[in-house]
């Protein structure tokens, strides 16, 4: 008993010839079908190159356009020829011209000899298929597809649309349950001959001639009528990408293919000299019959498809520039924005770094220069501290920073004195943790040595900017984790909000804060605000500061840490 191979070829005929010779020399008959669209000259050359092999035949040539009946017709005739000419064949294996056997033929023969009644063909009902491209699964069988998808796409689409509109449905022949599956199968003589000699074959053929991509459904459906033992998988390793075209194997896949233990792989790049040389070498040490195990290859290609369809979150680059809201994550990692904290606390950055770890920057969007942590002038990824470069494209700046520092939490200060262009972007970024002490910008003014009229002007401006910013943050569709306190609220009880923020930054630490950052001097702040009011400016964002009633945190001024147990 032996295995017969049918090869459907259309390009790289010299490679097909190599493989055919490999099989034929090992007593496996081969029937080759060459696409009718291949030139006479190439066909003759192929024929001549295999002329010395008595068990290689050529079947009648059909034009095999993708998705049309021609491929099935070619397969049928080649199979008939195979069954008629080589009576010793028990299993017939359908392959293409770009297939390559990965294991010695003897192993495959033995594997099939151990399973003499099994038909290996992927055959799944339409309801269970998820991989069809173009959205036709059940409709492939109920609509008519007379137009070529490749050549007359408009007609194809229009005709499908028309049929849908008029609710046209074809009748499926009695007894036939549509199944789909990979085109490449390995069937027993019994099953295959039963399909080909079916008295109703004409009916079935006529039906499938107008089905979409019949090569993935004809044998897959017919086999269910006759086979006693369908093993719904294919012995040919073939992987498809998200557009439904097969992945190609190259020389650098050698080890991967070797370890897969699959019998045949598709599709091989015709110039992959090393693969052809290694796998067609005549080694006869037949190993234990292992089951095919394409897991590793599956993972590799699944990853490739995911990269192509979802990409790396937070990456903006020359070949990934998602439209708004299609980013799968605007930035690549979580980061924290602190507004007003460095105004309220002395050395807040140092404290935060100690309490939460990560990298704590100053005002990254400061108008004069980028205040990277440690006062660096160039930062991770060779980012410049030039304000002009940053303001030229603030979104790129922020995304680059977060991308470049993957694996390290970034924290930075922000406020109404900084460039505001980035605020919108951060507000709709789920990775942003934004904590605001509103009105804290008044504290540096309070401590400044400016003329009061300038202070008043400046306060009015900053308040306007911050109010607009809070408006953005309070939008109901905001995605960032936003917390807002007024200054008055915050100094009532600073430890609790700080603890919440720190816990969110490093959830595993689960440590109570022992040391509070030191607050700036607030004595007389209430009076300062009253003075602003007296000058006609209404300070709103800092909450209620009664005149004369200075906040209690005066203890901090004496250098004693504010302890919470």
């Amino acid at each position: 008993m032996s295995v017969g191979y049918i090869m459907l070829c259309h390009t790289a005929l010299h490679r097909a010839a190599q493989v055919a010779r490999h099989w034929a020399q090992r007593d496996c008959p081969v029937v080759i079908h060459v696409d009718k669209r291949v030139g006479r000259h190439h066909f003759d050359k192929l024929k001549a190159s295999l002329a010395d092999l008595p068990n290689v035949r050529f079947s009648t040539r059909h034009a095999c356009e993708w998705g049309t009946w021609g491929i099935v017709a070619a397969t049928q005739q080649a199979a008939e020829l195979m069954l008629k000419s080589f009576p010793e064949v028990r299993h017939v294996c359908l392959t293409s011209g770009s297939c390559l056997p990965l294991r010695p033929v003897e192993e495959m023969v033995k594997y099939l000899e151990d399973r003499p009644r099994t038909d290996f063909i992927e055959s799944v009902t339409t309801a269970d298929v998820t991989w069809t491209v173009g959205g036709f699964d059940a409709e492939r069988f109920t609509l008519r597809f007379p137009f070529s998808w490749k050549k007359h796409r408009h007609l194809f689409d229009a005709y499908v649309k028309l049929q849908r509109r008029v609710n046209f449905r074809r009748r499926i022949p009695k007894g036939l349950v549509p199944h789909l599956g990979s085109q490449w199968w390995c069937l027993t003589r019994q099953t295959l001959s039963a399909i080909l000699e079916d008295p109703d074959r004409k009916t079935y053929d006529n039906y499938f001639k107008r089905v979409w991509i019949p090569d993935e459904s004809y044998f897959q459906s017919m086999v269910r009528l006759y086979s006693t033992n369908v093993e719904s998988r294919t012995l040919t390793l073939t992987k498809f990408d998200f557009q439904g075209k097969p992945h190609i194997f190259y020389d650098d896949h050698l080890q991967l293919l070797r370890r897969s233990d699959c019998f045949i792989a598709r599709k091989i790049w015709p110039h992959a000299d090393r693969l052809y040389k290694v796998f067609l070498a005549s080694d006869t040490n037949v190993r234990a019959v292992a089951e095919p195990n394409p897991g590793k290859i599956d993972r590799l290609f699944a990853k490739a498809v995911e990269r192509r369809t979802r990409g790396r979150a937070g990456l903006y680059m020359q070949s990934r520039y998602p439209n708004d809201n299609w980013e799968n994550g605007r930035t690549c990692a979580a980061y924290s924005v602190f507004e007003g904290f460095s105004d309220l606390f002395e050395n807040f950055e140092t404290w935060l770094n100690k309490a939460a770890g990560g990298r704590v920057h100053g005002h990254l969007f400061a108008p004069d220069r980028v205040q990277f942590a440690g006062g660096e002038s160039v930062y991770n990824g060779a980012m410049s501290d030039s304000a002009a470069l940053r303001d030229y494209n603030p979104k790129s700046f922020l995304c680059n920073l977060i991308w470049n520092t993957r694996g390290e939490r970034q924290c930075f200060q922000f406020g109404p004195k900084d460039g505001q262009d980035i605020a919108d972007f951060m507000a709709y970024d789920p990775n942003a943790q934004i904590s605001v002490i509103s009105g804290a910008w008044a504290l540096p003014l309070f401590h400044s040595n400016l003329n009061f009229s300038d202070i008043r002007k400046r306060a009015a401006l900053l308040q306007k900017i911050e109010a607009a910013h809070l408006g953005i943050l309070r939008n109901p569709y905001v995605k960032a984790r936003v917390r807002i306190w007024t200054l008055a609220e915050f100094i009532e009880n600073p430890m609790e909000p700080l603890q919440t923020i720190i816990d969110e930054i490093s959830p595993r630490a689960m440590r109570r804060l022992t040391e509070a950052p030191k607050m700036v001097d607030l004595a007389g702040f209430g009076q300062f605000l009253q003075n602003l009011k007296n000058q006609g400016m209404q300070p709103l964002l800092m909450g209620d500061f009664p005149v004369g009633d200075d906040p209690r945190q005066n203890s901090a001024r004496h250098g004693r840490p504010y302890l919470v147990k």
Binding site: K303, A304, T309, R320, G381
Partner: protein, 336 residues
Amino acid sequence: MGTLSSYRLRLARKRWRFRAFRKRRELRPVADRTNIIGPSDILVFCTLRNERVRLPYFLRYYRDLGVNHFFFVDNDSDDGTREYLAEQTDASVWTTKHSYKRSRFGVDWLNWLQMRHGHGHWTLLVDPDEFFVYPFCDTRSIRALTDWLDASSIKSFGAMLVDMYPKGPIDAHPYREGQDPMEIACWFDSGNYMIKKNKIYGNLWIQGGPRARAFFYDNPERAPAMNKIPLVKWHRDYTYVSSTHMLLPRGLNLVYDEWGGEKASGCLLHAKFLDTFAIKSAEELERRQHYANSHEYRAYNVGLKANPDLWCKWSEKYINWRQLEILGLMSKGNWA
């Protein structure tokens, strides 16, 4: 995109093609070996001037990748470039004394040659200091890439420019003929690129890298564009609009994915900053034949005198394409 604006682009494309057709007269053939080009050959197109010392490595690099034929337009070299190229059996050479600037920095000349000889071929348009890197380029030839692009019905392939620079002063290590320039200029900036979308032509506009950082930190609009689309399955109706940054028809510029995924892309390692650069930039300034009144070269001249070191402690040392892919400068897309 409305009918009117797409019609405008169509007119623009025709105009550029006609311009290229007129500029053909400026080219004088030195060695025409186009008769040996096979129907599926991969072609390299290049304009150059006085690059003799770089050529041996350049030719070797692209021959090793599997390029079949080279097209050179020599812009009046006087250092033996033309003679050297004419000896190469897989190169066709034209020469011209006409203005580089007025042929839109060589684009018109090459558009004409591509129109005439590139139709139906994969064409790669690079400068003599640009080295094309694509996914798996260490194990797969460029034909593997173009075959895959063909199978995926992709007509153009993006490759961003990555400026390479040495550590220390640019002229510290003289470049020897035949040497891999990346032995000297092996550092690059990994993550300071700024991206915008060009609404009219549909391409991305990328700026950044060491040039933006060191020479254009106070004037970013002027920083040179880094986006390039050098590899195209050419059709005689196509045309490059501005260097290799963008093409018409505009569909060819869509080398990026807009729905979150990554398309496959490569990089052009730009070994501009070798010791030859200082001489070259002085000369180019003299000739005033470069883009935007040679603003770029003026900035270099000023910048280089003040601070000749582009290296910083965050510079990345180049290893291979996988490093570029991990850093997010290029992508394998769904090629595996």
